[in-house]
Every structure is written in C-alpha cells, then in structure tokens.
C-alpha cells in the first residue's frame, strides 16, 4: 500500500517542484526575445492605449526608463480598440495612463471619475501627438485612388473599422464628411457621401484600426482608410502597400491622460510629461506620428507633407458637439448609417 502511495504522489511532487522552480524564474512584461535580466522594477505603470500607437510606445518606454524620473519604472502597455479600451477602464481594467484615439473616450473616463476634469486645460491640451487620415492602397495603386470620390468607384471595397468600438473609425468617417460637407456647413451632402461609401463599399467590420490593417493585409478590400502613422509603419514593415493623403483630409489628435485612481501618480505624470519633451516628441516623429512641438515638426517636415486642406474637429464644433450628433450609439447620424449597412 505504501508503494502505491509513493508512486502516486511522486509525479505530483515532481510537478510541484518544477512549478516552484518556474515560479522563481523572473517573469515580466517585456516580450522582446532575450530581453530578460534587467533589475527588477520598483514600480510598474500600466498604459492602456488605442490600437496603433505601439511603434511609438516601444520607443518611448526604454527612453523614459533612461531618464532620472523613469529610473526603476517599468511600463506595460495594452493595445486595443479605443472605445473598447475606454469602456474597459471604466469597468475596472487597471490603468495608470491612458492614450486613446479620440477625446470622447477620455471624456467617458472623466464622467466615471477616473480622469481629472482639467486633464486638457493646460497649454498642451492633453494632446502629445497626432496624424492625418490617409488612404492605404496596394502597391502600385492599381485602382488609381487619389481622392475621396475615387472610393465610390463601382465594385471597390473599402476597409474601415467599426465606429462603435474604434476611434480610428470615427476619424476615418469624419474626414470625408468634413470634405464633402465643407466643414459641416452642408451636413446633408456629407452624410450622403458617407451613406454611399458605407452602404455600398464597406463589407467587413473590424473592431479596431489595427484589426482593419490586418484584414487589409490579409487580402480583403482595395482601400484601407487609416491613420497616416499606421500607413507609415505598415510600409516600414515591408508590406506591399503605399499610402495617399487625399487633398482634403482631417487632423487626427490623440489624447493622453493620467488616471486619478493610479497608485503611482507621480511616475504617471512624469511619463506623460516626457511625451511633450523634445526628446519624446522626436521619438514620436521617428515612429511616424506627427509631433505637436513646432520645432520638432519643422525637423520632420519632409516626412509629414501638409495637405491642401486640413479640417479639424474644431471646424465641426468640437467633440462635445460632434460625438453625440454623429456617433451616439443609438442616434448618431453616422452610427445609424453604419448599423443599417453592416447590421
């Protein structure tokens, strides 16, 4: 009987020992091969971000760790559709710093008492970087896409994400809306174009800007509407695509805010401030994002051509007017078009 017991418990004991040994090995948040073995961080900050800024954060995080404020601070970043991430933080997803695609996703957190009301009251307006809406096509531009009207070519399939979950989707639809409605002065014309575009040319429903890129790279669709920074990074990865900035496009501004319930407010604020330093701005520019610092922007002017007409959210009345009118879950004009088209 004792033999039985021994032979039964031996494998269990072996597993327990292995498990303990494994537990002793260091884990961490870095997923870079061979990137283990740094000194254990005293603090870990969690950045909850929208889908596409990973190239930027991948540069920022090590640079921040090299600064005096960033010493001993490890940063974990989570990427996903802006709306979904924002709702997640409201529902309890851990976050110290948030970086969303559109301002309403931060406003949601303000309403939930997770972000201070004055998060964008200072000179920076809470926006450390941005981009413009861009059209990504297959290499060689076989369909000769140059402007918004070209998207309405019969049989052309356009890939853009779901505005109910994605911030990218909102920018993508605001750009043609602003162009066609002359900055919101003729809403009917704008909505008419959106209607034609979405109903006849949008067939897929990716949840985020990144998912939309993935769907496009996997062979679906002829044109992807996306951020210029996402287009740049996709090209840098060697994919057979190119991008065109239409003559009239939209200025994308991506907010960053500190979460007030963070246990590491000092470090979170330090990280946020780092984004606005010339060093930080340069890193964002190198990652393909348009910096807000005018000096850095001047240095990178050739990477970021100025469009003929750049509409901004202010032209349309600001997010507090645009978001409920166009993107409200049930009554937004664009949301209704989108839901009717894709179900």
């Amino acid at each position: 009987m004792s033999n039985n017991v021994k032979s039964r418990w031996l494998p269990a004991a072996a597993v327990a020992v292995t498990a303990t040994l494994l537990a002793a090995c260091g884990g961490g948040s870095s997923d870079v091969a061979g990137g283990g073995g740094g000194p254990a961080a005293a603090t870990t900050l969690t950045v909850v971000a929208y889908a596409v800024p990973q190239p930027g954060w991948d540069k920022i995080i090590p640079a921040f760790a090299a600064t005096p404020e960033g010493k001993g601070v490890a940063v974990t970043a989570s990427y996903g559709a802006s709306g979904d991430q924002s709702r997640g933080v409201v529902d309890g997803k851990p976050a110290d710093l948030v970086n969303f695609s559109v301002e309403p996703d931060v406003t949601r957190l303000v309403k939930a008492d997770k972000v201070a009301k004055d998060w964008n009251a200072d000179a920076t307006k809470g926006i450390p970087f941005g981009s413009v809406v861009s059209l990504v096509v297959r290499k060689g531009n076989p369909k000769h896409i140059k402007d918004w009207d070209d998207l309405l070519q019969p049989g052309l399939e356009v890939v853009t994400p779901n505005p109910l979950s994605s911030g990218s989707a909102k920018w993508n639809l605001l750009a043609p809306y602003a162009a066609k409605s002359n900055g919101g002065q003729d809403p009917a014309a704008g909505l008419d174009f959106i209607n034609k575009l979405v109903t006849e040319h949008v067939k897929t429903r990716p949840a985020s800007g990144k998912d939309a890129t993935t769907v496009f790279l996997q062979g679906s669709g002829d044109v992807l509407i996306s951020y210029e920074n996402e287009a740049i990074n996709t090209e840098r990865q060697g994919n057979p695509v190119e991008h065109i900035n239409p003559p009239q496009t939209f200025k994308i501004e991506n907010p960053v805010a500190v979460v007030t319930s963070s246990a590491h407010l000092e470090q979170a604020n330090a990280l946020k401030n780092f984004l606005y330093t010339p060093a930080g701005q340069k890193l964002w520019a190198e990652a393909g994002f348009r910096p807000v610092d005018p000096a850095v922007a001047a240095d990178f002017a050739k990477d970021f051509p100025t469009p003929q007409k750049l509409w901004t959210i202010v032209d349309l009345g600001g997010w507090s007017a645009v978001d409920p009118a166009l993107f409200d879950k049930d009554n937004g004009s664009i949301t209704k078009i989108y839901k009717a088209a894709t179900g």
């Binding site: 039985n4 537990a23 961490g28 997923d31 990137g35 989570s78 309890g92």
Partner: protein, 277 residues
C-alpha cells in the same frame, strides 16, 4: 461482414488521407515553421524556439497558466469526487437535474461563459456590489480567470469518476464498514485507490482544458503582458502585434502539452484496462 480488398484499401486510404490533411499536415506545418530557421542549421531553430518562449512575458504567461491550474485542479477534485460519490451511490430528488447541470458546461460556448461571468461579477453586473462596495475585483482580475476555468472544467472529474464508482459497487466499502472502519478511513484506503485511474484521467483532462482555455479568458482578462496573460492569450497577443513566429513558438509549446496529454491518456487507458481485468 468482410469487405472486398478494393473497398478495404479505399476506405483506409480515404480515412487516412482525411486525417492527414485535416490533422497532421497543419500541425506539422506549425512545427516546421517553429523549428526551421531557414538557414539549414537545425540547432538554430531550437535556439529560436527557446528564446521565444523564455521572454519575460512568456515566462509570466506560463506562471499564470500554471497558477490557475494549481487552483482549479484541487477545487475540482475537492468538490468533484463527493459529487460523483453522491451521484453514483444515492438516489435523491433532483438527481437528474443535478446530472443535467453537470453537463451544462459542455453546451455553453466559451464566449457565453465569459459574458455570463461579466454579467454576474462585473461592476455593472448582478453581483456588482462585490467590486463596487467590497472592493473585490473579479473581472479583469485573477479570480475571473479562475472562475472561467472552473466553469469549463467542472464536468471532467465528475464524469470520469462517476462511472468507475458505478461499476465498482459498494461491496468493499460495506465490508470495511462492518469491520468498523470510519468513513474517512474507508474513503482514503478503499474508495480513493479504486477510482485513481478515473480520477487521474479527469485531472489530466482538467489540466489540458484549463491550459487551453481561450474564449472565456479573453473576455474576463485585462490581457496585460506580464500580468494577466495566460499562454493562450499570449499566442493571440503575439499574433495580433505581428510577432507571428512568437505565436507559433508558444503554440508549439501548447501542442507539446497536448501531446503529453494524449500520451497520458493512452497510458491511463492501458492502466484502466489492466485494472478492469
């Protein structure tokens, strides 16, 4: 009935071809992509593999998955064995209802499992006061992962132990009782050893299912690398961020676990057959 040689070979060929195309080739392809470094040196392929599964995020994922297993398995054994006992040995009102409830997890989609947990334990859920007032976070925290894993593994131990108890009958236990054995002595010395094959089988299935759960955990986890990513979440996380090789590497690791499970099943089957004789 004896099948003509033509049909015999035809059936064999078609069946094996189906299995080859559906099972073997895709799995083999992943192994190839993981271990083939492209420059001819097979050694480098293994090196790439090991580097990819030993990044800090991967080690954390492994630790998290094993931790969940370490909690789920004992709980399932602790509650599952008595449940199997009561199902096999007793008649009581509502027994068929209990049987049906035990089978429920088989009928529930993993996404529905995640949704149900969110709707129950989430901050806007039926038991939202746990999080809002008592500060006990379930969703987007470790308990959520555990609850999701237990939900999907509830039936395994029970369903493997119950038939064994059924077939065993109560002779030995009755004999022990008449000889004055206490209930815990009878349990430890007679019942437990006699169900050990079924129990081990159930535990192996539980471990495999827990390590492999994806649909439910992706909904209740905050999916932060190094903190709340299980091995399966690591696979999809890597794939999403373009690290395809990394996804293949972790998949190979999980396939290795699956193969070990299959081997364990074969061994346990043999053990059960021997014990039955």
């Amino acid at each position: 009935m004896t099948v003509s040689p033509f049909f015999k070979y035809l059936f064999r060929f078609v069946a094996l071809a189906y299995l080859l195309v559906l099972l073997i080739v895709p799995v083999g392809l992943i192994l190839w992509r993981t271990f083939d470094p492209g420059d001819g040196s097979w050694y480098a392929g293994f090196e790439n593999f090991f580097t990819s599964i030993s990044t800090p995020a991967a080690v954390s994922a492994l630790q998290l998955s094993l931790l969940i297993v370490a909690i789920v398995v004992p709980l399932n054994v602790l509650f599952g064995v008595p449940t199997a006992l009561v199902l096999a040995r007793n008649k009581f009102r509502g027994k068929s209802a209990l049987q049906a409830v035990i089978d429920l997890p088989f009928a529930v989609s993993p996404v529905v499992v995640g949704v149900s947990l969110i709707l129950l334990w989430g901050s806007a859920g039926a038991l939202g006061f746990f999080e809002n007032d008592l500060g006990i976070k379930v969703i987007y925290a470790f308990p959520g992962l555990v609850l999701a894993s237990i939900f999907v593994t509830v039936p395994f131990v029970i369903r493997e132990v119950e038939p064994v108890l059924h077939e065993l009958g109560t002779d030995q236990e009755e004999a022990a009782a008449t000889l004055g054995s206490q209930w815990w002595q009878t349990f430890w010395r007679i019942t437990l050893p006699s169900i050990r094959w079924g129990l081990t089988y159930g535990i192996v299935l539980t471990i495999a299912r827990t390590l492999g759960e994806y649909g439910a955990v992706i909904m209740v986890s905050s999916n932060l690398p190094g903190q709340s990513q299980t091995l399966t979440l690591l696979v999809s996380g890597r794939y999403d961020s373009g690290n395809e090789y990394g996804a293949y590497a972790v998949s190979t690791l999980l396939m290795g676990v699956a193969v070990i499970v299959l081997i364990a099943q074969v061994i346990l089957d043999a053990g059960r057959a021997r014990a039955a004789k």
